[in-house]
Amino acid sequence: MINAVLVMNTQGKPRLTKFYKQVPVEKQQEIIRAIYAVLSSRGENYCNFADASNISGSDNKLVYKHFATLYFIFVVDGAESELAILDLIQVFVETLDRIFKNVCELDIVYNFNKVHTVLDEIVMGGQVVETNSADVMKAVQDIFKLERAV
């Protein structure tokens, strides 16, 4: 399953954190720092996977993608396919891109609540809900409409 979804910038500042297993807040920060330490030492043309068994549990892996100033990171266990998760990150980012029209770090900082909404339509309880970006878009747009209809 997917144990956590994190978005952090290249300075290690968390921009979105979502844990699907119970982790106390101090431990969450510890994990985030450890992940940043791993990612910041990795080069551009390295593979998109890194071992996380010392970070969040045995057989855990980081599957991540680097976009401009941001890392999108999924912490997954051995039951997930690494490449499929990579595709999922792509879907997540493409969806954000459509919603924010060329998403950038500031969009995510100031609209973390919307990003949570988007993520909830893609991943739920550590499992994939929807992989089809158009469907996700539609669900999210419906929600935004409802939100405005105060």
Binding site: P14, T17, K18, Q22, P24, V25, E26, K27, Q28, Q29, I32, R42, G43, N45, Y46, C47, N48, F49, A50, D51, G57, S58, D59, D77, G78, A79, S81, E82, L83, A84, L86, D87, Q90, F100, C104, L106, D107, V109, Y110, N111, F112, N113, T117, D120, M124, G125, Q127, V128, V129, E130, T131, N132, A134, D135, A139, I143, L146, E147, A149, V150
Partner: protein, 1013 residues
């Protein structure tokens, strides 16, 4: 850039972003928290907008890493709001902030249920998402039937149904009974026929979990999965929006193939044939293309297909096709594909007979060992390790050694361990093995654990042919200018034992050997010094007829260390000095080391441990694990009479019966323990050298290892042999199991606890099913304890529970343990400890598990004792006196006369203090019968220097006067009581055990029966 739509929130985020440093950020956050708190507390009529704004702020602060311990009620209350916008915030923030055990969740169960069964789809989605993210037993009990209904209802929108599927999955994980419904597997099969790909994907995730736990219940889904896979690969009837870069829903393809791997095997010939056809098509039809995303997606499918082919144990042709593909992948530039190629090749090795074809790619794999990306290097190392056998061991190990010098630190330890294990498993000849290990120590001494050099010593001791060779090698290494301390240890040891075999060679006279070793003496630590002192004695003994010059030099070393600070070194120096005076009778005492009893390599055990997996295992993984557990276990041919030496390293492939007793125990076999007499101070004084001679004489030693435990030395040779203090014999245990199905620990829980109080790793508990080990690191007021739960049987242990009951002076955090420990697997549960203030209380680990027949539970004291938070405080006499004077009288300085102390010689008591990190400062007190010591106690509030003075009475060793002083009265009191307990407590254990013949005699089945009656 779009703003969040809430001005106050945006302003706050801007403020935080503008903070120059962490400190300012904290101030800003604290201010905001105070603000939100007051708003919630005092202002009654907050508008919905304000409520939303504050709750979002709380989530933002939480994501920044600050604990938000209020406002939960307000968050939860939003869930019950009528408007969508408020409800949505309530649901999202609740699922981030609250965990499943939060009491408040109970308050909203009704609202959540109403949302789920209500007609508003958007509310249904919100509620399902929150429950799916949070889980929880109570949700599970009260909501499961409703969630089920949504999933199977054809009138619901797909959006709701896919969320219901995943929600049910979460509830199922908490409570498997939620799908305990008649005909549920038929329902699942029907759901696989759904037209909406999104719903099927979610159902497939649910099915993975269901099948993983109960493959027999869902056979009816196999054919559906295969048909679905056919449909997907042929792109039949797949809506355009579900093709991702031209590939029909890669996720669904991957998940479907994953499900099929959880079924033990697929017997039906027709289904199997069509499945293999589909897989064949995937294997053939995937090419590497330019577009990265397309590549990722197509290869996600391809790699899953490879896994499934392996799982199905397909025909040989198909397997070789897989190897060929993997061979292609490990050579491509694209790093992801290369990484997965290496990883899958490693898995392939374990499930199929493809060793030979993989070997053809050895050169390519070695190239990846030098890749800049550590993820790839790791995979390559794993693969090389897995593919190594007698034929290529030399090449591979030499590559590893060469790489070791340039490898980065992150991988060195693993590399060193793996090289050592391969050298041991597949050595074409033993001298090569010794060469490899010595090179390993030379190149990466810091990363060579003690286990590794203990193992060399064991091999050399048990193989006469190796002894002269190793001694010569050791001499050469030691002669180099800069030598790693581990090298000094192993070389010193080997030369002590075997340098006499070289005596005729140039530069190898006893005196020259001594001087080569002694050159290193000043720069090594005390534990090495102790080993070297033993070596000197042995060298001296072998120089018969005596070399007066050597004798003089050695004696002067011993003389010098008679008063050495470290008790072990001091004791050795004193004893050896006395022994040497005995002249020829020393030969008996210092005879060559006996052969070691054969046992499984601690290294291999260690490697197996590091491979340990968590609870969530795929079927292929499970199979792998079962296979690795009876993979190569190095067992040396045991000879009962101890005459034949170690058989060549042999490969025994079904060693799984033989339960490993853990690394910890094995590490006891270090030559130190087996080495020199560590018995009693009394030995040197004792006129009865015959007893000693008998014990240590060659004759006694040559006896079968099995008979040794009968003699008294056994206690020190094999300290962990559970023969003392009412502990049951393993045999008796087996009988007991059959009789009453009660499970008894294999040793004394008290002894294990006591041992762990003084060291940081070891066994806490063991019975025939489970072994609980502890490994701890302490730094100031903090501790990081890892609890290892090892299943020693071939059956999974279920309902595993472990909770810690912390006393009030400690803050502890134990991550939840997995409910099931797979057969022969080990799980690690980290436990973080923070000391708040001084106290003698200890936390209790409450654990239980079920094996197939019975539930076993126990409450174990955890060795988080006060001395773990102590650190020796070196202090100058002047400082000591000054501080001692300023702390006058109670409550900061407390004095007590302690009676009933275990009589022990002063050095032993000093050692006891040192072992608790209470640093004895010798010579500070003019009265030689007194001990003065200092230590620092660490707690959350800082470090407290504590001073201790013990005044003993040489005429009556059972009483003493104890004074403890520190700036904190409660620390003073607790430390005084703690020391008192140790001084008195020790006596009751050590004096009662040996003098109680009744308990000693009662081992074996009789003891078990007696225990029953």
């Amino acid at each position: 850039m779009a703003l969040s739509g809430m001005r106050g929130l945006s302003v706050f985020i801007s403020d935080v972003r503008n903070c120059q440093n962490k400190e300012l950020e904290r101030l800003r956050v604290d201010k905001e928290l105070a603000n939100v708190r007051t708003k919630f507390k005092h202002e009654k009529g907050l508008t919905p907008y304000e409520k939303k704004k504050y709750v979002w702020k709380m989530l933002y602060i939480y994501m920044l890493g600050y604990d938000v311990d209020f406002g939960h009620m307000e968050t939860i209350a939003l869930i019950s709001a009528p408007k969508y916008a408020e409800k949505q915030v309530g649901y999202i923030v609740t699922s981030c902030l609250l965990n499943e055990n939060h009491d408040f969740l109970r308050l909203v169960i009704n609202t959540v249920r109403n949302d789920i069964i209500g007609r508003n789809e958007t509310f249904q989605c919100l509620a399902l998402t929150m429950v799916g993210n949070v889980g929880g037993k109570e949700f599970s009990e009260s909501l499961a039937p409703d969630v089920q209904k949504l999933l199977i209802s054809s009138s619901c929108r797909p959006l709701v149904r896919k969320k219901a599927a995943l929600c049910l999955l979460r509830l199922y994980r908490k409570n498997p009974d939620v799908v305990n419904v008649d005909g549920w597997s038929d329902r699942m099969a029907q759901l696989l026929d759904e037209r909406d790909i999104g719903v099927v994907t979610a159902v497939m995730s649910l099915l993975v979990s269901l099948v993983a736990n109960n493959p027999d219940g869902y056979w009816n889904c196999v054919s559906k999965c295969v048909r679905l896979l056919e449909r997907l690969t042929r792109s039949q009837d797949i809506p355009q929006e579900y093709t991702y870069y031209g590939i029909p829903s890669p996720w669904l393809q991957v998940k479907t193939m994953r499900v099929l791997q959880y079924f033990p095997s697929i017997e039906d010939p027709n289904i199997r044939r069509s499945l293999l056809e589909v897989l064949q098509r995937i294997l053939m039809g995937t090419d590497v293309v330019k577009n990265v995303n397309k590549n990722n997606a197509s290869h996600a499918v391809l790699f899953e297909a490879l896994s499934l082919v392996m799982h199905l144990d397909a025909e040989k042709d198909m397997m070789s096709q897989c190897v060929a593909l993997l061979g292609k992948f490990i050579a491509v530039r694209e790093p992801n594909i290369r990484y997965l190629g290496l990883e899958n090749m490693t898995r392939m090795l374990l499930v199929a007979d493809v060793q030979e074809s993989i070997k053809r790619h050895q050169a390519q794999i070695i190239t990846s060992l030098k890749d800049p990306d550590i993820s790839i290097r790791r995979r390559s190392l794993d693969l090389l390790y897995g593919m190594c056998d007698v034929s290529n061991a030399k090449d591979i190990v030499e590559e590893l050694l060469q790489y070791l010098t340039t490898a980065d630190f992150a991988i060195r330890e693993e590399l060193a361990l793996k090289a050592a294990i391969l050298a041991e498993k597949f050595a074409p000849d033993l001298s090569w093995y010794v060469d490899v290990i010595l090179q390993l120590i030379e190149k990466a001494g810091d990363f060579v654990s003690d286990d590794i050099w203990y193992r060399v010593v064991q091999f050399v001791t048990n193989n006469e042919d190796l002894q002269a060779y190793s001694a010569a090698k050791a001499r050469d290494y030691l002669d180099k200018p800069a030598v790693h301390e581990t090298m000094v240890k192993v070389a010193g040891y080997l030369l002590g034992e075997y340098s006499h075999l070289l005596a005729r060679r140039p530069g190898c006279s006893p005196r020259e050997i001594f001087s080569i070793i002694h050159d290193k003496f000043p720069s090594v630590t005390t534990s090495t010094k102790a080993i070297l002192l033993s070596s000197y004695t042995k060298i001296l003994m072998h120089s018969q007829p005596g070399d007066p010059e050597l004798l003089k030099q050695v004696l002067s070393v011993f003389k010098k260390f008679e008063t050495y600070l470290d008790a072990e070194v001091q004791q050795r120096a004193v004893e050896y000095f006395a022994l040497i005076q005995k002249g020829p009778s020393m030969v008996d005492i210092m005879a060559e080391m006996p052969k070691f009893p054969e046992r499984q390599s601690a290294l291999i055990k260690k490697a197996e441990d590091t491979d340990g997996d968590a609870a969530d295992l795929s079927a292929t993984k499970l199979r792998l694990q079962q296979q690795t557990s009876n993979a190569v276990v190095l067992v040396n041919q045991h000879s009962a009479n101890g005459t034949s030496h170690l058989a060549p390293l042999s490969k025994v492939s079904s060693g799984s019966q033989n339960i490993d007793r853990g690394v910890l125990e094995q590490s006891h076999v270090g030559p130190q323990q087996n080495g020199m007499p560590v018995t009693a101070v009394g030995m040197a004084q004792s006129p009865n050298a015959d007893l000693l001679g008998d014990l240590m004489a060659p004759l006694a030693i040559e006896a079968a290892p099995g008979s040794v435990p009968a003699t008294q030395t056994s206690a020190s040779l094999v300290p962990e042999e559970p023969s003392l203090g009412g502990s049951a014999d393993p045999l008796a245990l087996a009988l007991l199991d059959g009789l009453s199905s009660s499970v008894q620990p294999t040793g004394s829980i008290q002894d294990w606890f006591n041992a762990l109080c003084k060291k940081d790793s070891g066994v806490l508990y063991e019975d025939s099913f489970i072994q609980i080990g502890i490994k701890a690191e302490w730094r100031g007021s903090q501790g990081h304890v890892v609890i290892f739960l090892g299943n020693m049987q071939k059956v999974a242990l279920t309902s595993v529970r472990a909770t810690v009951l912390p006393p009030s002076h400690l803050r502890m955090q134990l991550l939840p343990v997995p409910e099931t420990i797979p057969p022969r697997a080990q799980v690690q549960c980290p436990l973080d400890v923070l000391s708040l203030h001084a106290s003698r209380e200890v936390p209790v680990l409450d654990f239980s598990y079920s094996n197939s027949t019975v539930t076993v539970g126990s409450k174990l004291r955890l060795p988080v004792v006060m001395n773990k938070f102590l650190q020796p405080a070196p202090i100058s006499p002047a400082d000591f006196v000054t501080i001692w004077r300023t702390l006058s009288g109670p409550p900061n300085k407390l004095q007590e006369v302690v009676h009933g102390v275990k009589p022990m010689p002063l050095p032993e008591m000093k050692e006891l203090f040192n072992s608790f990190h209470i640093n004895v400062s010798p010579g500070l007190d003019p009265n030689l019968n007194n001990i003065v010591a200092a230590t620092t106690f660490f707690s959350e509030s800082g470090a407290t220097l504590c001073l201790v003075r013990v005044e003993t009475d040489p005429a009556d060793r059972t009483q003493l006067r104890l004074t403890v002083a520190s700036t904190d009265s409660s620390t003073t009191f607790e430390l005084k009581e703690y020391i008192k307990e140790q001084l008195v407590d020790m006596s009751s254990i050590t004096t009662t055990l040996p003098t109680n013949p009744a308990t000693l005699g009662f081992t074996g089945p009789a003891a078990g029966l007696a225990g029953l009656l």
